[in-house]
Symmetry: C2
Subunit: 204 residues, 2 copies
Amino acid sequence: MTKRGMLIVLSGPSGVGKGTVRKALFDEPDIDFEYSTSMTTRKPRDGEKDGVDYFFVSKEQFEDNIQNGEMLEYAKYVDNYYGTPLKYVNETLESGKDVFLEIEVNGAMQVRANCPDAVFVFLTPPDLMELKHRLIGRGTDDMDVINKRIETAVSEIRMMRNYDYAVLNDEVAKAVERIKLIIRSERLKVTRVMPDYESMLGDN
Amino acid sequence: MTKRGMLIVLSGPSGVGKGTVRKALFDEPDIDFEYSTSMTTRKPRDGEKDGVDYFFVSKEQFEDNIQNGEMLEYAKYVDNYYGTPLKYVNETLESGKDVFLEIEVNGAMQVRANCPDAVFVFLTPPDLMELKHRLIGRGTDDMDVINKRIETAVSEIRMMRNYDYAVLNDEVAKAVERIKLIIRSERLKVTRVMPDYESMLGDN
């Protein structure tokens, strides 16, 4: 029996740079996990390729998928659906390979509910830690704007609680290194390697 | 308020090479955690230094420490006590530094009971995975010996379940690298970095 692969979920607040970090991660030479391409109903932008950037489908097709339980997670932004088809993820995990998802926070919480043993990485904005002092210190924003930004920061922190790891995106290369070491370390978890040892001594 | 340090516990079956790996780990240039020296009632061997290899104390003193709740963990082997004084570990963690313990499996389970947020690393013997096939394959041991060794291997696997990570000690340098990456990755855990973010936005 092949040991099931590990599901790695990268998420974080919008604008934090999830896509940039994910692309830099997959440009690394020693990456041995698979990227799961998302599905969307929005139109391709210039240069975007079907099956590479997204699977581009019609609204009817996407809604069929939802109805048939074929989406691991999905969300609707403005008038378009975005989501992760379940089939590819499951087949890849079953084949023993690790799968990487880069998705929005709401989607990540759906994955958490369906796949509690996945690894959840929250990408944090570089200014989150300093936000408050910097906003007040520079004295240019009125308090309404500061309060709004602090409010957003606080709600981001609340989302972080549902994740396993927090990765600061101060520099893309550093964020990539942090994610790589998390993945290598997670592969040493007893819960993940136990089947190797058990199957070896399975007859005793 | 200083964030409390992380407690890292290295253990494993006797003979696996815990001491060798620990020494090699602390010879690394970039180690920024503290080693907690054990206390024992056995006599120093040639070249062993009090306060370096062990704190060498009398049986009466050790038993006083146990009575006064001053031991994080302890065990008696043959006629001697071995254990970890609580005071140094607590003071170092409170000062924000990470502490590293290299202890026996029974002691590790006592630490697990007292400090559930510590990181537990189980060092596995290089032959555990291949043990069974190799023993049967070479055909030199009689089945009593093979069964005894398999039994030991199986009980080692049972101990592993109580740990967070399994590190194969196939080569000391590789085991050291694995432990280092576990520690770096654990420092990115949301549960550990959350206080940094919370204290920054504590007034909101």
